[in-house]
Symmetry: C2
Subunit: 576 residues, 2 copies
């Protein structure tokens, strides 16, 4: 009987916090040891945090990461720990250390380096070329890293053929909506194809525009779920794996022998750990099997986690938000209040001559419902001071977007002044639909440190707002905010639809153009009016300069603005 | 006798302007044909422009680039043209097409894909693996692309061994100070090692934060300069190459035969073009041999080119600049006036209660000297309106950076209002030393579309200002601007040195830390005070969020802020 007690440490690391990450790992190694775990795994690059980006170009940083790994290694006695770190040899490697009996017993180098979407791993790392299989007592364990397991011909296959009964994959798998479910489908295919268990250990938490959802899982060789950690929370997921059946199936699979013969001898590195680690008389553990959250709850938790971690990891306690009385700032405030506690959130209503009574009432009611601090700072005198100051230069011109933007920028200045005076981080409130077409004022409503819902299309803003009310079982976001026509209130009787197509149309075109890189003809063929499609594409293309100066925000779609989408500002390409 | 008339078309393409780039190429092919050129080369990715970034992910864009190439091919009759484009097969390739007799006669795929610094080529392209040698009459010509020639073991070697007498390298080689000279040293080594001529065709012009310096050259097999185009200007550089001596040397080199035997048969693709193109009775051409500019003139021209192209390629005619009376805005205004003509530049002096008479006089004098439009918009009434508006929220606090920044942000708002009203692009004026330590106000003096001198350290700002006066032979930038102590004038008697080390010390530490990734101990060992080094590093590290929201500006150093340096905002790593 081949039994292995495995622990997946789904932790929230912080980029650059080598000491903090080390301490967290050391504590969990000790905890797992108390629970008689044989092998504990930590996420990809757990020591430096993920992604460390150009910190990797600092030799002192890589050196300090190696020192931290050594400190962890010394504590790994009587247990085997798999820890992500940056290895340095002839080059840099995205690596997994196998720590055993107080030392680094083996090292695996990531083979598949993603260099698309938000990833730049070819910028930093050299790819490894040797799959690793370690023997832990009678169990054989393959170790690989994140992207490695997404390829059918990747190291998982070689490891299974070389006799691994379980493959541990350590990951830092960035979230987008529905990612956990698609990841689990992929893992189920991978284990069934290779007749091997898989223990997938993902990190959790936010890092700039990325959020990691956790959702670590263990699947048996048929793709059945053995254990699943919660999403968006730290957890030590422990399970006892009986690998006997895998061992038997591998031995009796005739196709396997053929494939194995094709494996070049020596292409797999095998490391036998000196001592058997299993303790046969320990009490069995019942693994947790957390459910996957429903789709809206999942996105909402991603936004909470990304916001909380950006604020906290950057050393802020409190945030400030400009409330307009509209749905975007309402949802942003609700997320902030949930992520940081109501007492840490201040919202500011900044009425002008164009602000409606409804807006004020709705903003006040929202603040009251959330229990957050509410301030009202009327901007009209200051707006008048600008108009007077600019009267000379503007003489003979008609009021236009210039005067509208002055109002938005006064509000931006007020929020930044509060930030500078009191140390509050400014959260901006623009949604993805607006960001896409540039329906926002640079240095105005775009001014701030973190853009909570910048990757949330308007349609989803409404759904999430309803979700906020549903989950509380009462009206947090006032009904009127959810039903009134969106408006920027920068001129009399303005509504968003003066400048933009109706949001369902806009969001449909944007999904096709921004998300899926479809050409104009394809989008028109989907049933949209050609002139409208052309307008939307033109607005997206000409506002790249605004997005380039926007603060980061939580990525929740397969393609967010930021590292995920790198278009030139200077760009004369036009769809016809 | 093996003679070849070669033309290097050092052109300024625009990213995405497939039609415009195509037309420019077609015109020069015709021009070269009139001058009886055998082979004309265009820069890397001349059809799509460089770098096209994520436009490459749009199938319609790649398709349109192929169509444009076909249109160019039809005009290449009686001449051979080498044209950079995006090839699409099983994957995307950064490619060079050999156009001959109206069709694409051969295609080379770039082998070395840079993925460091500002480059992301692994994000888009698959690497080629077959060096290409074409026969043009009796001449054999190797073709490769940019990064390929920087590697001693790259395709140049295989091409020379396969009998190429000249290697044409088509490039888009981003500028930094001194790059042309170092590139020429590399090329001289490469030709001498391989006994081959090199014709290096570089693009010229600005693209977002990059500028390309041109400086296309032809070197003979001893590394002697045969021809050199001007830097920072379009040019059709033509030379007659007598390849006889190379042919003879290659034939009689015994070491070459040994090396050649090691070349795997079939690793080099050979394409014989159907017709001999040489015309023996044409009149010889005397090639130009432009001098390299001196170091200050070179940087100055880079800033002019980068600024002009950003403004013009983005469709702007006019710019607006906030003048403070200090050296940074003075240099920025001088560059703008030179790049765009004085009549297209408006400068705005925006005095507050803390502005000195000297500042006003110096700003006025500068505007007068440059012949640019000057406006004065006093901000004090508006500043007072802010103070009144914020009196409640700020009650009980002492004036601090919050009130200082309000002034800077009022100025930012004024410039943006003028931009919105009149369609002028705002140029910002911060230098690299300030950007490094975050000594600038987000949404204040950082507000604008293009940051002309953001990669110019303070020390170099002074040198370039002196250069502006020298090249005009008169005082453009008033003497007092060059000698007075730098100040932001945001509170009484403020100077930069209240908050920062003296600029020579600051710039020295920044060069070591930002540019060279040196650790604190190393920098202290260079002779700097430890507490000062620690202060500077702390300021750099904690202001990444500001730089992330800064506009692009011209890269002139080996490592600029922007695509060149990708640090996380959330980052707890601290040098000790």
């Amino acid at each position: 009987m081949t039994k292995l007690r495995i622990a997946l440490a789904q932790i929230n690391t912080t980029v650059g916090d080598l000491g903090g990450n080390r301490d967290k790992i050391v504590d969990l190694v000790a905890d797992a040891k108390r629970q008689e775990v044989d092998v504990i795994a930590f996420p990809e690059l757990a020591i430096p945090g993920y992604p460390p980006e150009d910190l990797l170009l600092k030799p002192s940083f890589v050196e300090a990461n190696l020192a931290a790994l050594d400190e962890v290694a010394r504590t790994a006695v009587g247990i085997t720990a798999i820890v992500g770190f940056v290895d340095r040899g002839d080059d840099l490697y995205n690596a997994a250390a196998v720590l055993h009996e107080g030392r680094v017993a083996a090292v695996y180098h990531k083979t598949y380096l993603p260099n698309y979407g938000v990833f730049d791993e070819e910028r930093y790392f050299c790819r490894g070329d040797r799959p690793l299989v370690i023997s832990c007592g009678r169990a054989s364990v393959g170790i690989n890293i994140c992207e490695d397991i997404w390829y059918p011909a990747g190291p998982t296959k070689a490891q299974a053929l070389a006799g691994a009964q379980v493959v541990i994959n350590i990951s830092a798998s960035p979230y987008h909506a529905g990612k956990a479910a698609s990841r689990e489908r992929m893992l189920a295919t991978r284990v069934a194809d290779n007749v091997v268990f898989c223990a997938f250990c993902n990190m959790v938490g936010g890092q700039d525009e990325l959020v990691f959802d956790g959702g670590s899982v263990i699947l048996d060789e048929r793709g059945e779920m053995v254990a699943r950690a919660n999403c968006f929370a730290e957890e030590l997921l422990i399970a006892d794996l009986d690998l006997t059946s895998v061992f038997r199936q591998q031995l009796h699979d005739p196709r396997r022998r053929k494939e194995r013969a094709r494996l070049v001898e020596g292409s797999v590195e095998r490391v036998a750990l000196p001592a058997a680690v299993s303790s046969p008389d320990r009490a069995p553990i019942v693994p947790s099997l957390a459910p996957l959250p429903d789709p809206l709850a999942e996105v909402y938790q991603a936004l909470i986690t990304g916001t909380r971690d950006y604020v906290r990891k950057n050393g802020f306690q409190k945030v400030v938000i400009g409330l307009s009385g509209g749905v975007d700032s309402a949802l942003t405030a609700a997320i902030a209040a949930h992520a940081l506690d109501a007492e840490n959130v201040t919202c500011v209503f900044m009425p002008s001559r164009y602000s409606s009574v409804d807006s004020r009432e709705d903003a006040e009611q929202l603040a009251h419902n959330l229990g957050i601090r509410y301030m009202s700072i009327p901007i009209d005198d200051t707006f008048q001071a600008y108009l007077d100051m600019l009267a000379g230069p503007f003489a003979g011109t008609e009021p236009n977007v210039a005067e509208e933007n002055v109002q938005a920028r006064i509000r931006g200045n007020i929020l930044m002044a509060l930030s500078n005076k009191f140390g509050w981080l400014v959260l901006t409130t623009g949604n993805k639909s607006e960001m896409s077409v540039g329906y926002a004022t640079l240095y105005g409503d775009m001014a701030g440190g973190f853009a909570v819902i910048k990757d949330v299309p308007k349609d989803l803003v409404y759904k999430l707002s309803a979700h906020v009310n549903d989950r509380q079982g009462r009206q947090i976001i006032p009904e009127r905010i959810l039903i009134k026509a969106p408006t920027a209130e920068l001129r009399p009787n303005q509504t968003d639809q003066d400048s933009l197509p109706p949001y369902p149309v806009l969001d449909g075109i944007l999904a096709a153009y921004v998300q899926e890189d479809r050409a104009m003809d394809e989008i028109v063929a989907m049933g949209y009016d050609r002139a409208t499609v052309a307008d939307v594409i033109r607005m997206v293309d000409r506002t790249e300069y605004k997005r380039r100066q926007a603060p980061p925000g939580v990525k929740i779609t397969p393609r967010a603005f930021g590292k995920d989408r790198r278009l030139p500002i200077t760009n004369r390409y036009r769809e016809h």
